[in-house]
Symmetry: C2
Subunit: 177 residues, 2 copies
């Protein structure tokens, strides 16, 4: 049997700059009603990029968790933007990396229990690298690591970013690395 929950009614409780929050009342499988609090997000993309034998990563301060993370290049979809175009744009803006094409790795849901954010993951082999062009309020450092070094960093617990671990997993499962 497939599990499901049916929306009965709901209301937006918060309008934000990145998320909205809705409170929906849903009908459960047992006929009862329950409240579901959902953070609505426009979606995002991430790119596992290889520059020759090196994994291309960005280090940035993540204010919500009060620490730096080492992550694959990634970013939110702009209004009306397609994920594929957004991935090429973010790769170029954050790292200067240029790729002829991207391969789709899969969808990533980081916190599907309360948030609808879908992040589309891509794999890229860089053709060349130009100048990075980050947003003016975005401060990040581009770092490149040989694949074996990156895997050793994972084993040492130095990669805590979910989309980065997931993109590596999917790229490896797809035989790209």
């Amino acid at each position: 049997m497939k599990h499901t929950e049916q929306r009965l009614r709901g209301e937006t409780k918060f309008h934000g700059t990145i998320i909205d929050v809705v409170h929906d009342t849903v009908l459960l499988e047992n006929g009862r009603e329950a409240l579901r609090e959902v953070a609505r997000h426009h979606g995002a993309v991430g790119i596992f990029a290889m520059d020759g034998g090196n994994v291309v990563l960005v280090r940035q301060f993540r204010y919500p968790i009060g620490r730096e993370l080492l992550e694959i290049p990634a970013g939110k979809l702009e209004k009306g933007e397609e994920p594929y175009s957004a991935a090429l744009r973010e790769l170029r803006e954050e790292t200067g990396g240029l790729a002829d094409k991207l391969e789709y790795l899969g969808a990533y849901y980081g916190s599907a229990g309360f948030c609808d954010e879908k992040l589309d993951l891509y794999f890229a082999r860089l053709d060349s690298t130009g100048a990075a062009d980050p947003d003016e309020d975005e401060f990040l450092t581009v770092e490149r690591y040989p694949l074996a070094d990156f895997e050793a960093m994972i084993a040492r617990g130095e990669i805590a970013d979910g989309k980065t671990l997931s993109a590596y997993t999917l790229a490896r499962a797809a035989g790209r690395i």
Copy 2:
């Protein structure tokens, strides 16, 4: 140079059942100010559990994304609860799985750009399996797959849950599977 952002002031814009949302004004590296919208979450745990040669997963409908996901057992921390105890509790409640001890795999941040949710990941080898005891409004199906079948499901794009992909890779990097 380490990147950082310093909180200047802020206010809570939304109090919810799972998250609160704050708007903080921060001081950037370039001396300018910026708004950071942050969803505050109490934290959670997830367990990559092996029952003999089988990976123990739960299938459940995730209302925010309107589809089922196949995931490792996981759940939110209860008030004042330690992650280790929460992981043993969630493993038992969701799957009936009992383990003598858990090994820590690492931290997982699913959406650190706007949410502070930290999920602590553990590895377990089940000693035995009793009766599952899910929350009364929680409907899930426990499924067990041989490790090679689970890896084939990853390669086919059937695992889209970030904590599940991440826990698999951390367990593999740690030599547990």
